[in-house]
C-alpha cells in the first residue's frame, strides 16, 4: 500500500471498468436492497404521511396536537440517531429486538425491517407536511362544489381534492424520494448490506477506494436518473389530467429544467381567485 501512495496518480482503470460494468453478485444484491428498501419505505411513508396530514387537519385539537408532536420529534432529530435507537437501542433496553422473518421463500432480515421502519417513519413526517400543503393548495371552491354535489367529506377528499393535490405533492415527493435513495447509504451503520456497505467492503479488501466509490456513485446516479424519468412521466400524466399538454422534457428536467407549467398558475386559470 505504501508504494501505491508514493507513486502519484494510481487510477486503476481496468479495476474501475470491471467494477462498473461487471459488478459482483454481492454488489448487485446491495444495489437491489437499496432500491427495494427505498421503495417500500417511501410507499409506507406516503400512507403514514397521509394519515398524519389528516390528523393535522382535524377539527379536534387532540389529533392536531399528537400529529404536531410527532412531526416535531421526527423532523427535529437525526435519522442516524433514530436508526440506532430503533435497531440497537430498543434491543439494548429489552423493549424489542428485530429478528428475521420468513414469508415463503423470502426472508426479511431483522436489520432490514428496522431500516425500512425507521426510514418510513422518518420520511412520513416530511410527507405529512408535503401532503398537507398539497391538500391546502387545492382551491377551497373545489371542496364546496363536491359537498354541494352531495359528496361526504371523505368522498370529496378521495375523488376531488386528493387527485388535484397530487399535482402539488408529486414534485416535492420526488425530491424526497431522490434523497431517500441516497440516504439509504447511512443504513450501513447498523449493518444493512446495501450498496454503500458493499462498496466499503470491496474498498477495504482491494484498497481501490477511489475506483470503487466512483463506481458506487455512478450507480446511485443511475438510480436517481431513472427516478427522474419516472417522475417526469408522472408529472406529464397529471398535467394531461387537467388538460395540459407540454410536460417538461427530460433534458429540461435533468439539466437546469425549469417547469414548463407550474401547477399554481394552471389551477388559477381553472378556478379564479374570489375577488
Amino acid at each position: 500500500m505504501h508504494d501505491v501512495l508514493a507513486s502519484g496518480l494510481q487510477f486503476d482503470s481496468d479495476f474501475f471498468w470491471q467494477s462498473l460494468l461487471h459488478p459482483t453478485r454481492p454488489f448487485l444484491r446491495g444495489l437491489w436492497r437499496t432500491v427495494y428498501i427505498s421503495v417500500i419505505a417511501q410507499a409506507a411513508a406516503v400512507v403514514l404521511g397521509l394519515g398524519i396530514a389528516q390528523m393535522r387537519r382535524s377539527r379536534l385539537g387532540v389529533w392536531r396536537g399528537i400529529a404536531g408532536f410527532y412531526i416535531w420529534i421526527i423532523r427535529g432529530t437525526p435519522l442516524l440517531v433514530q436508526l440506532i435507537i430503533v435497531y440497537n437501542g430498543l434491543a439494548a433496553v429489552g423493549v424489542y429486538s428485530f429478528s428475521d422473518v420468513s414469508i415463503g421463500r423470502l426472508t426479511f432480515p431483522g436489520v432490514i425491517q428496522a431500516a425500512v421502519i425507521t426510514l418510513a417513519v422518518n420520511e412520513s413526517a416530511y410527507m405529512a407536511e408535503i401532503i398537507r400543503a398539497g391538500i391546502e393548495s387545492v382551491h377551497k371552491g373545489q371542496t364546496e362544489a363536491a359537498l354541494a354535489g352531495g359528496m361526504t367529506n371523505r368522498q370529496a377528499m378521495r375523488w376531488i381534492i386528493l387527485p388535484q393535490a397530487l399535482r402539488f405533492i408529486v414534485p416535492p415527493l420526488g425530491n424526497n424520494f431522490n434523497s431517500m435513495m441516497k440516504t439509504t447509504s447511512i443504513l450501513s451503520v447498523i449493518g444493512v448490506d446495501e450498496l454503500f456497505l458493499n462498496a466499503q467492503a470491496v474498498s477495504s479488501t482491494t484498497f481501490r477506494t477511489f475506483e470503487v466509490f466512483i463506481a458506487a456513485a455512478l450507480y446511485y446516479l443511475l438510480l436517481t436518473t431513472v427516478w427522474s424519468v419516472v417522475q417526469t412521466w408522472i408529472e406529464g400524466r397529471l398535467n394531461a389530467d387537467v388538460g395540459l399538454v407540454r410536460p417538461p422534457s427530460l433534458l429540461q428536467r435533468l439539466f437546469g429544467g425549469g417547469r414548463a407549467t407550474p401547477p399554481t398558475d394552471t389551477l388559477a386559470v381553472a378556478a379564479p381567485e374570489a375577488r
Binding site: 371552491g141 362544489a145 359537498l147 354541494a148 354535489g149 352531495g150 368522498q155 375523488w159 394552471t266
Partner: protein, 266 residues
C-alpha cells in the same frame, strides 16, 4: 311575505319548495342574516338582489347547508335542511344525511368550480355515477344529453382549463342538473364572466325557468330578474326589505331602501 301573484305550477305537498323561517347567521361577529323568512313555491323563480354584504349569498348557502344556521329553520321540499330534533333541541344532521339532502339541491357557483382534473363530460356524470350509483353508461348518456342541451356537446372531452368562462358555467349548470335536483340555487352565476358571455349563461337559465325548475338566483342582472323572475327579493343588512313581482319592485318600490338601491344600479 305574501305569495306571488304569478300562478305557479302545483306539485306534491303544499306546493312550497323552500320555506325559510327567521333564519339568522352571524359570521365573524357580523349579523349576516337577521331573521330571513320567505316561502318559495314549487316552480317559482326568485331573484335576490341588493347591495354587496346584504346577505344574499349567505342566505343561498344556508339553503343547502354550505352555511349553518344560528337560529331559525329551513326546509326544502318539506324536509328540514341540516338539522334534526333531538330531545327538543336542534342538532346538526350527520354528514351522510346532509350529503343526501344536498343531492337534490343543485348549486351553481360564481366561479364555476368545475373539477379541473376531469373533462366536461366527466364533470357531469361523475356525481350521478359515483355519488348516486347510477350505472355508468346511463350516467354518461345523460351527461351527453345535458351537454347538448346547454350547447356544449362538442366540448364533452375538453377540460375546464380549455373552456371559456361562459362554457365552464354552462357545464357547471349541466353538472348540477345531472343530479336531477328539485331545486336549483345560483350564486351570482354571471358575475365572473366577460360581458359577451353573460348572455349564453342567462339563456340556459331562462330555458330552465321555462321548464318550471324552482330557482333561487342571487344576481346583479336586473334585466334577467325583471324578465324571468316570478318574484324579486331585495335584501339589505341581513334582512329582506322588499318582496314582490318584478314589475312592482322595479317600478313602484315600497321601501325607501329599495328605491335608494335601485337608483344606484338602474
Amino acid at each position: 311575505m305574501t305569495a306571488s301573484s304569478v300562478p305557479v305550477p302545483q306539485t306534491a305537498g303544499d306546493g312550497v319548495m323552500v320555506r325559510a323561517d327567521a333564519v339568522s347567521r352571524k359570521l365573524g361577529g357580523l349579523q349576516v342574516l337577521d331573521g330571513v323568512s320567505i316561502e318559495v313555491r314549487t316552480g317559482e323563480v326568485v331573484c335576490f338582489i341588493g347591495p354587496s354584504g346584504a346577505g344574499k349569498t349567505t342566505f343561498l348557502r344556508t339553503v343547502n347547508h354550505l352555511e349553518g344556521l344560528d337560529s331559525g329553520t329551513l326546509t326544502v321540499n318539506g324536509r328540514v335542511i341540516g338539522y334534526r330534533q333531538e330531545r327538543g333541541r336542534q342538532v346538526e344532521e350527520s354528514q351522510k344525511e346532509i350529503a343526501k339532502q344536498r343531492q337534490e339541491i343543485g348549486f351553481v357557483f360564481q366561479h364555476f368550480n368545475l373539477y379541473p382534473h376531469m373533462t366536461a363530460a366527466e364533470n357531469v356524470w361523475h356525481g350521478p355515477a359515483r355519488v348516486k350509483g347510477v350505472p355508468r353508461d346511463e350516467a354518461k348518456q345523460r351527461a351527453m344529453e345535458l351537454l347538448t342541451r346547454v350547447g356544449l356537446a362538442d366540448k364533452a372531452d375538453a377540460h375546464p382549463i380549455n373552456l371559456s368562462g361562459g362554457q365552464q358555467q354552462r357545464v357547471a349548470i349541466a353538472r348540477a342538473l345531472a343530479m336531477r335536483p328539485v331545486l336549483m340555487l345560483f350564486d351570482e352565476p354571471t358575475s365572473a364572466l366577460d360581458p359577451e358571455m353573460v348572455g349564453e349563461v342567462l339563456a340556459v337559465m331562462r330555458e330552465l325557468a321555462e321548464e318550471n325548475m324552482t330557482m333561487l338566483v342571487v344576481t346583479h342582472e336586473m334585466g334577467f330578474a325583471r324578465e324571468v323572475a316570478d318574484r324579486v327579493v331585495i335584501m339589505d343588512a341581513g334582512r329582506i326589505v322588499e318582496v314582490g313581482p318584478p314589475d312592482q319592485v322595479f317600478n313602484a318600490p315600497q321601501s325607501e331602501r329599495t328605491r335608494d338601491f335601485l337608483s344606484k344600479v338602474l
